[in-house]
Structure formats: C-alpha cells, structure tokens
C-alpha cells in the first residue's frame, strides 16, 4: 500500500554484503537509513570506496539488499521492481549510453521502456535535447560526443520518464566547470518540478551547493546526515581553520565539509577508503 505521505525515496536499514572474488565477504553498506522528500536533494558524500555506488545499486534495485528495504514512491524496489522503477530515473557512474542509437533515438527508446507512447517519448526527447544543449548533435552517433556531452545525455536520459525520484551517481565526474554548471542548473529545474534527488558525489563544493542535506558515508557507514551548515556547526564549529596550501604558506579559511569528514572519518574526501 502506498500513501500520499510516503516520501518519494525511503531507505530503511539498508545493509549490503557480498562475496569477494578473492574470497571472504565485504560489508559495503552498513545499516543506512534516510528519506528524500519531494523537491529535496540529498547528497551521498564520501571518498572512493565508501559504499556510495553499492548503496545506489541497491537503491535502484539492481542489487538485492542483504538486510533492510528501499521504497520508491512507496513501492519496495526489490519486491515490486516494475512499479518502483516506473518512478525512478537513474544515471549510473558508468557510461551506459546505447551506442547503437543516435542522441535522439537513444532518449526515445529509453522512454518506451517506461511504456511511454512513441509520440510522447519523441516530444520529450526533443525537449530534452534542446534543454541539454544537444540540438546540433541530435542525430549524431554516440561515439562522436565528447565525455561531457555523453554525461549530459546520460542525465537527460534519466529524466525522459519525468521520474519522481532521480538517482545520480557521480554525474559530474570528469566534466569541465562549464558543463558542471550547466548540469547543476538542470538539476535545479528537476527539483522545482518536484523530483526528489539523490546525488552521489565526492566533490564537496557540489554537495554544498546542490544538496539540502548531506549523508556522509565512510566504509559503508552513515557518519551523519544533516544540512551542510549544521554538519559544519556540529562537528567543527565556526572558527576559522588553518590550512597549509603549499610548503610554508598557511591560509585561514571558513570550515567546510572536508573538515567535517576529516574529523569524523580521519581521512580526506579525495582519499581512497581503506
């Protein structure tokens, strides 16, 4: 049963363990719980190997959870995958664009996987192509697109079904600053439309700028979940922080999420998880 009070995305005690090829078991996600409200953007922030992508694979229903549940628009993503994914738009970290189709066909075909009538999918594809600045590439093959344009197209594809929940796994990795800004604007629009956004990133600036709340993840554990300013306030206070930017040169700056992460996890965001 779903009710109108259900948050679009609800993650309840999510735990994910899997066997490693070299033997043994890894607990990649440990008892993680959070909600994402309508129009809200929650960031999953953590270093490489923190469990962000595994959590996202479970949240999108590609991996089954070892324990816990994930609900998208009130539907259990593993027990009712079709209903849940009907409301879900996903941009994975890996490039999964279908190189057998050009830019527009790619979007139209993806729309039909959501049972959109062909004509509706074509209209939406045309709108997205224009909005994402891909009009002059509308009928180009995927291989001819630069890395930045491919990433943009992958986010556009996640939006073709006009999902209630948008899950983006490091959508701006490898993008130049202009392309990153363009994508941020598009995500702002999606939020205005009421989409709940879960965004995984290891860019602190991106998380602070886009996210209403941030879930700090390390070694699969949720360290804390709060607004960026509250996280800073709670864990490092407001006093200026001294940082040696190059040998012998120390700058003073306002504390940020990097400092929070360093305090809670004992390592910086850019470092690999141990």
């Amino acid at each position: 049963m779903t009710s109108s009070n259900d948050p679009p995305l609800r993650v309840v005690h999510l735990t994910k363990r899997y066997r490693l090829e070299r033997g043994g078991e890894l607990e990649a996600v440990k008892d993680v719980s959070f909600d994402v409200a309508r129009g809200e953007c929650v960031g999953l922030l953590g270093p490489n190997g923190a469990g962000k992508s595994t959590a996202i694979h479970c949240i999108t229903g590609f991996y089954p959870a070892s324990e816990g549940q994930v609900f998208v628009a009130g539907h259990d993503v593993w027990r009712e995958p079709k209903r849940a994914r009907q409301e879900l738009g996903v941009c994975t970290q890996e490039d999964t664009l279908d190189s057998d189709f050009d830019v527009t066909d790619q979007l139209v075909r993806h729309g039909t996987y959501f049972r959109l009538p062909w004509k509706v999918a074509e209209e939406r594809a045309a709108r997205l192509v224009a909005r994402f600045g891909l009009s002059d590439k509308a009928h180009d093959p995927i291989e001819s697109l630069s890395g930045g344009l491919r990433r943009r197209l992958q986010v556009a594809r996640a939006l073709v079904s006009e999902p209630k929940v948008l899950v983006l796994d490091e959508p701006t990795t490898g993008l130049d600053p202009d392309a990153r800004r363009a994508l941020w604007d598009i995500l702002k629009e999606a939020r205005k439309r009421g989409a709940a956004i879960l965004l995984s990133t290891h860019y602190m600036e991106e998380a602070e700028r886009l996210c209403d709340r941030i879930a700090l993840l390390d070694k699969g554990r949720l360290l804390d979940l709060d607004t960026p300013s509250q996280l800073v306030e709670k864990h490092v206070g407001r006093a200026e922080v001294e940082e040696e930017v190059r040998p012998g040169v120390v700058w003073k700056r306002a504390p940020n999420l990097e400092d929070v992460f360093l305090k809670l996890a004992g390592q910086r965001l850019g470092e690999e998880a141990a």
């Binding site: 590609f62 991996y63 079709k82 994975t92 190189s99 996987y113 049972r115």
Partner: protein, 258 residues
C-alpha cells in the same frame, strides 16, 4: 491489448535488437547468410560432385540433399552461438546495454530472456532461409520450412543459451574461443553435418549423440528428407535446451548482480 508486464519487457528488448538489425540490414544479411551459402556451394556442389550418394538410416540419399539438411542444423548452431556469445558479451561488457535497460521497469531477467529469444529468432530466420533454398533446389519437400519451424526455434534457443552461458563465464572476449574450439567446432565436425554419425566408431558415435547438434541434425533430416525419427532426438534436444537456457540465465544474473 495490453501485454503482461514480463512479456512486454521481453518484447521491448527484442524490438531494440530488431531496430539495430534493421539499421544495419546489409551488414547482417552478409554476415548471417553468406556463411551457410558458402558451405552449401562448397559441399553441396563441390564435394557432392565427388561423392554422389550417401547411405544412412536405411535410406540412400544424394550427398547434396544430405549436406543441405546438415547445413540447416549448422546454421542454427553458429548463428545461435555467435549471437549469444559474442553479441551478448559486447552488449553486456562494452556497451552495458543490459545494465542500462535494467534500471528501467524492465527487469534484468526480462533483458536476458529478450537476449536469448533474439538470438534464437536470428538463428531461426537464417536456418529457414537455407531450408527455403533447399525447397527451391528440389532437395527438400515444400512443407519442410513450416514443419521445421518449432524444431529450429527450440534448437536456436539451445545454442543461443550456450552462447549466453559462455559470455556469462568469460572474463574477456578472447575467452569465448574456449567454448568455440572445445564445443562448437567439434560438434560442427562430428555431429552429422557432413557425414552420417552411424559411420563413426562406437565410442565416437555415443559421444556424438550426447552432444545436442546430433539430435538437431537428425530431427532436421527427418523433417526435410523424411528419414526415420530417432527416438532419443527429441528428449535430448529438450533436456539440452531447458538446461542451457536456465543455466545461462542464472549464470548471467550471478555475474551482474552482487
């Protein structure tokens, strides 16, 4: 009419493959049909001119008719296996098509069924074209292509499943050569495509009948040339088809889903 969700999912995947096939129809026509046609010309015209007749299952046939029906079975083997193995590996490993579709309401299981059914469809069409050529040359009875259809499709599912199972276990595309050289080519050479299996020594004959292509070849000859039905052929085909399709589906899910 609204299709059930699972059937619609499988159909969507099939239609995606068909759209790609249609876009590159000339390429696919050449790569799908040239090989059986070359075998037909080489063995059906060249070798047949030296051999003339062949005796099998208590009947005497022209070698051309014999090898023509063998090529129908060989086409099912090669087309089913190559689409299931190399085609699926490229889509799964390089293009990540499976992963992209499986984030939509179409489940990974439906993607894999679509993959197997597509491979089977392509192989069936290729084999039916060879059968039609056999009718055109007077080697096969006119009703043969129609009668062959269910056997071709089940056999094609089997070989497509074999291909997908190979793709699920391959760490890289080169490793697909193992099943190709250790399983597909031996079947091609020793399972009755070019000579009757009953001419082999006993141990080889038993081994040949354990392999699925011998049953496929035997059933194709029954339906095209009117040779007697071998009792074991249908059960062997059914067991291999069910087993390989189920195993390939399971192996691919185990590979992709942690």
């Amino acid at each position: 009419m609204r299709l059930p969700d699972w059937a619609w999912g499988v159909a969507c995947v099939w239609l995606r493959y068909f759209a790609v096939f249609r876009k590159s129809i000339v390429y696919y026509a050449v790569t799908t049909f040239m090989e059986p046609v070359l075998y037909l010309l080489s063995f059906g015209v060249g070798v047949a001119s030296m051999i003339g007749k062949v005796e099998t299952e208590g009947a005497v046939l022209s070698y051309r008719s014999f090898v023509f029906s063998g090529i129908v079975a060989q086409t099912l083997l090669f087309q089913g296996f190559y689409e299931g193995a190399f085609g699926a590996f490229v889509r799964m490993y390089y293009q990540r098509v499976f992963q992209a579709i499986a984030t939509t309401p179409i489940t990974l299981s439906e993607v894999l069924w679509g993959e197997i059914v597509w491979g089977a469809t392509k192989a069936t069409v290729a084999a039916e074209v060879v059968a039609l050529l056999g009718v055109a040359t007077g080697d096969f009875a006119p009703a043969s292509p129609l009668l062959l259809l269910p056997v071709c499709f089940v056999s094609a599912l089997l070989f497509s499943g074999l291909g997908l199972l190979s793709a699920a276990h391959a760490k890289n595309i080169e490793q697909l050569s193992y099943p190709q050289y250790l399983f597909v080519f031996p079947m091609f050479m020793f399972c009755g495509v070019f000579f009757p299996v009953d001419k082999l020594p006993h141990a080889f004959r038993v081994a040949a009948w354990v392999l699925p292509l011998t049953s496929v070849t035997s059933l194709v000859r029954t339906l095209t040339l009117g040779l007697p039905l071998r009792a074991g052929a249908l059960p062997i085909l059914a067991v291999w088809a069910c087993g390989l399709v189920a195993l390939s589906h399971r192996a691919m899910i185990r590979r992709l889903v942690k």
